[in-house]
């Protein structure tokens, strides 16, 4: 076992992925951790599609804890396999693990699950093979669907009881000879790994072609019916209209006996994936003979498989429309009952965005077919038309849109363009007594020998305000009017009375200090501006926002006036700030050793960092009572053009 671990551990990779998802009409970055294993000395890493398939950025940690950027080579949702390539600063060889033969696995064999469970560094667990042909039980009425693809239609999982958790995805299942026999993918009580023979074949194609090409004939197949007297064959449940299968003359009820001369049989669910793999491997565009049994007669059918298309098309956010959209795939067109694929499919909408605000509003699964009287054949058309519509406009442009909703052809007006309010409205400014107080409750008054008195007790003095008041003072009257506060709920009574005065007013307070009553004239200040009104800077490259420190922040955190900096107000997942572990609420005190006094100064520095495409930037931050350094390492190469403040988009991602 030690040898097995030693053989594979150097090849293990912990993958920190910034992935992109499309939800609520927006492109949203997310961060996730998965596992992988190096399979070529050039640095190809096999992992799961659900780990890396939608990656925007990949950071790989090797077994020696070295961090290296990676790039996606290719991905295959149907088998949930992706291949990424390590991008070392200088070219070098990597320790590659070897594949074993998954078909030789037997129930009871010992295996090791390797990877990064729960995002830990490279770890190993051990178990035995529990099942060599694991499928989702029919009774579950569930399938593992990724990007619209039914993974179980192609994959017979290797079931094992080695502990795997979130983070193990994409990591290798290893036999005691130190060979990869599976790629861990799911946990359904037992762990489930994609057999290495299938994973390897897919990875080879991804490395060679960047994609997996599969043949498709458009038949829905299922195991033979239990009542069938037929001993072998595959039952055709349906034929998709417009598919090669329909053109070739297949019919529902046909029983397929041979495919390209090879006998086939599916009596049980477990036999479906191998059959699907066989069909997927047929030559694309070349005639193939399929022998079927129909009405007791064997009929040879010649079919020309075509390349299988993804069930779901890639999405794109169209900010000017407030939606995410994609082209219409063949299968989606069928699902929507359309005879054409022309148009753009609405996948999700932003609440209150232009498309959602139209009357009638666009909905998910609507297909935009015409904009401003011009036909829209695909996403490219819509993007081009949008550019024309918004060019030179400062306000959203009412645009006539024709769309299809199932069998209806509807028309609406969408105000295409970006308009987002950024001004939250100012908080009204009122007079304010700059001290903290507590209510002089009846019990407290009695205990202090002030029975019958009402008012408040001064509990703290705020810096920079010289009121003449002292902690412990009891304020009992304002300009001769008693302060009717005697219960904790009356905490607002004095502030409300104060707010009736003008800012700068000088009311006379009746104060009891050390048992003696005295009069004190106090100049009222303006209520401090709330945090939401502080000056802000949003850095769209690093994906975070800072603001000036508000009075309330100093009170909440106990920061003295000498404590300078900018406060991190928000951080977007997947951005460089987030990847560098900057946190909301951090006080950035210094940037690269230079003290920061406010947002204006910080903005200048960040713009300079962007202009110079600085490789790393170090913030000295205060987090709670701790002080620490946070290092951000931008990857400028991934940005076509770094966004300067002048180009700053109005919308956040």
């Amino acid at each position: 076992m030690e040898k097995a671990v030693a053989a594979v551990k150097p090849s293990l990779v912990r993958i920190h992925v910034v992935t992109v998802e499309y939800e609520q009409g927006r492109e949203i970055k997310r961060e996730t951790i998965g596992s992988g294993v190096i399979i070529t000395k050039q640095g190809h890493v096999i992992t799961n599609h659900h780990v890396a398939g939608r990656a925007k950025q990949l950071l790989c940690t090797l077994a020696n804890k070295e961090e290296i950027e990676g790039e996606l080579v290719g991905t295959d949702p149907m088998t949930d396999i992706s291949v990424i390539k390590l991008l070392p600063p200088t070219k070098r060889d990597f320790p590659a693990a070897e594949f074993g033969d998954s078909s030789k696995l037997k129930v009871g064999d010992h295996v090791l699950a390797m990877g990064s469970p729960l995002a830990f560094s490279q770890s190993v667990t051990m178990g035995v093979i529990s099942n060599t042909e694991l499928v989702m039980p029919e009774e579950w009425h569930e399938t593992l669907e990724i990007d619209g693809e039914d993974v179980g239609s192609m994959v017979l999982w290797i079931g094992h009881d080695a502990d795997i958790y979130g983070g193990n995805s994409g990591g290798p299942l290893v036999n005691l000879e130190g060979k990869i026999v599976g790629i861990n993918e799911i946990r359904m009580g037992l762990g489930g790994a994609i057999p290495s023979n299938l994973a390897r074949a897919v990875a080879d194609q991804l490395i060679k072609n960047g994609k997996v090409r599969r043949a498709w004939i458009g038949l829905t197949v299922q195991p033979l019916l239990k009542s069938s007297k037929q001993k072998a064959g595959v039952l055709v449940g349906g034929v998709i209209a417009g598919s090669p299968g329909e053109k070739a003359g297949f019919k529902a009820g046909d029983i397929i006996l041979k495919v390209a001369g090879k006998s086939v049989s599916v009596k049980y669910t477990e036999e479906l994936p191998p059959f699907n793999q066989l069909v997927a491997g047929l030559p694309i565009g070349k005639e193939v003979e399929v022998l079927v049994l129909r009405d007791g007669k064997q009929i040879p059918i010649k079919v020309v498989p075509q390349e299988r298309e993804d069930v779901e098309a890639k999405q794109q956010e169209l900010k000017e429309w407030g939606l995410c959209a994609s082209n219409v795939t063949f299968m989606k067109a069928k699902e929507l009952g359309r005879t054409t694929r022309a148009g753009v499919l609405v996948r999700s909408l932003r609440e209150g965005g232009p498309a959602n605000d139209a009357k009638p509003a666009l909905n998910e699964d609507d297909v935009i077919v015409e904009v401003d009287g011009k036909p829209v054949a695909n996403l490219e058309d819509l993007v081009r038309l949008t550019e024309t519509i918004v060019k030179g406009k400062t306000e959203p442009t009412p645009t006539l849109v024709v769309f299809e909703r199932r069998s209806e052809r509807l028309m609406t007006v969408v105000k295409v363009g970006i308009r987002e309010l950024k001004d939250p409205g100012r908080e009204v400014s009122k007079a304010w007594l700059p001290v903290g107080t507590q209510v002089l409750t009846q019990d407290l008054a009695k205990a202090l020998g002030l029975e019958g008195k009402t008012g408040v007790r001064v509990t703290r003095l705020y810096p920079n305000f010289n009121t003449g008041l002292q902690v412990g003072d009891i304020i009992v009257a304002l300009d001769g009017t008693e302060i009717p506060a005697s219960q904790p709920e009356d905490i607002e009574v004095l502030p409300a009375m104060i707010r009736q005065y003008p800012i700068g007013g000088k009311p006379e307070l009746t104060v009891i200090r050390d048992g003696k009553e005295m009069k004190l004239s106090v100049e009222l200040a303006a209520s401090p501006r709330p945090p939401r009104e502080m000056k802000r800077y949003q850095d769209v490259n690093f994906d975070f926002t800072v603001r000036d420190v508000a009075f309330q922040d100093r009170i909440d955190h106990g920061w003295a006036e000498t404590e300078q900096g900018v406060l991190v107000d928000s951080i977007s997942e997947g951005g460089w700030a987030s990847l560098g572990n900057l946190m909301t609420g951090d006080l950035i005190r210094m940037v690269d050793g230079q003290a920061i006094t406010g947002v204006a100064e910080f903005q200048k520095i960040m713009e300079s960092v962007t202009k110079r495409k600085q490789k790393s930037i170090v913030f000295a931050v205060k987090r709670g009572i701790q002080e620490l350094f946070v290092e951000l390492r931008p990857t400028w190469a991934r940005l076509a053009t770094p966004t300067t403040n002048k180009q700053k988009p109005k919308e956040e991602k």
């Binding site: 609520q24 209150g352 309010l421 939250p424 009204v428």
Partner: protein, 272 residues
């Protein structure tokens, strides 16, 4: 047989209950109808898109956008509209509810705002002034309206006594085609500290926040807003309901609204 007797009793009681206050009810109904005719158009729907951002323990934000509609009252022909700050931007209430138990930061941002008039005209607008203390938000059209809008005269106000009627006008939601809804509630309580508020009956539900309240004489009493204790509501409430949770709809007197409206009218457009 027994069942019939009970039914008869209920019918008799219902008739009795309906006849006794009929004269006053007619006055109330007429007052309500008159107010609807005079000020109905000044009661508008505010259509908002609010982006709420939540962050737990300093982690990256979770963002959510949502649309909502609330009632607003136009208080100036220029389109200056008053609404409940808690209704249009519930962050403060949410922050209060989530404070203490764990480190959660909740912030919200109004990303789109329109004043929807009774005739369906939508006027893009913005919040120009907030008063968290009074739960007031003032909204102003981005561009001057083509013609002056029907506005409630806040300078002529009435001060109700206990158990006087307060007639409130609000806009229903899309399910009712944003129709005007009028309700009448008696003033159950007059709160005098820390400042003057009128508490209508519990019929004034949160859906009416921002509704102008009028006296039987046709003059405005104030605006129905949400009063909350500093630091947000306490969740240790009991059966007494909202007031024990530290929140309660109350009518802010027109004079206070008017005073804040002056600042709103002067508020410049400079973003912070």
């Amino acid at each position: 047989m027994k069942k019939i007797k009970v039914s008869v009793f209920i019918i008799v009681f219902a008739i009795f209950a309906a006849v006794i206050p009929s004269a006053r009810t007619d006055d109330l109904a007429q007052a309500g109808r008159d107010l609807a005719a005079k000020y109905g158009d000044a009661v508008v729907t505010l259509q908002l898109v609010v982006k709420t951002t939540m962050s737990m323990q300093g982690e990256p934000d979770e963002k959510q956008e949502s649309k909502s509609e609330v009632t607003g009252a136009v208080v100036d022909p220029s389109g200056l509209t008053v609404a409940s700050l808690a209704a249009i931007d519930p962050t403060e209430v949410m922050s209060g509810m989530m404070s203490g138990s764990f480190d959660m930061k909740v912030a919200s941002e109004i990303t789109d705002l329109k004043i929807r008039l009774a005739d369906g005209t939508e006027i893009p607008a913005k919040v120009v002034l907030r008063d968290k203390d009074l739960d007031l938000a003032f909204i102003r059209p981005l561009k001057k309206p083509d013609k002056p809008l029907t506005a409630i005269d806040m300078s002529k106000s009435s001060k109700p006594n206990l158990l006087d009627f307060a007639i409130m006008m609000a806009r229903l939601g899309t399910v009712a085609n944003r129709s005007l809804a009028i309700s009448a509630d008696r003033i159950q309580s007059i709160v005098e500290k820390p400042r003057l508020f009128y508490v209508p009956g519990m019929g004034a539900m949160s859906s009416e926040l921002g509704a102008p309240a009028f006296a039987m004489d046709g003059n405005v009493i104030g605006i129905l807003l949400l009063r909350s204790l500093p630091g947000g509501p306490s969740m240790s409430g009991n059966w007494l309901g909202m007031s024990s949770m530290g929140i309660l709809p109350m009518i802010l007197p027109a004079a206070d609204v008017l005073s804040a409206a002056k600042q709103a009218a002067e508020a410049n457009d400079t973003a912070p």
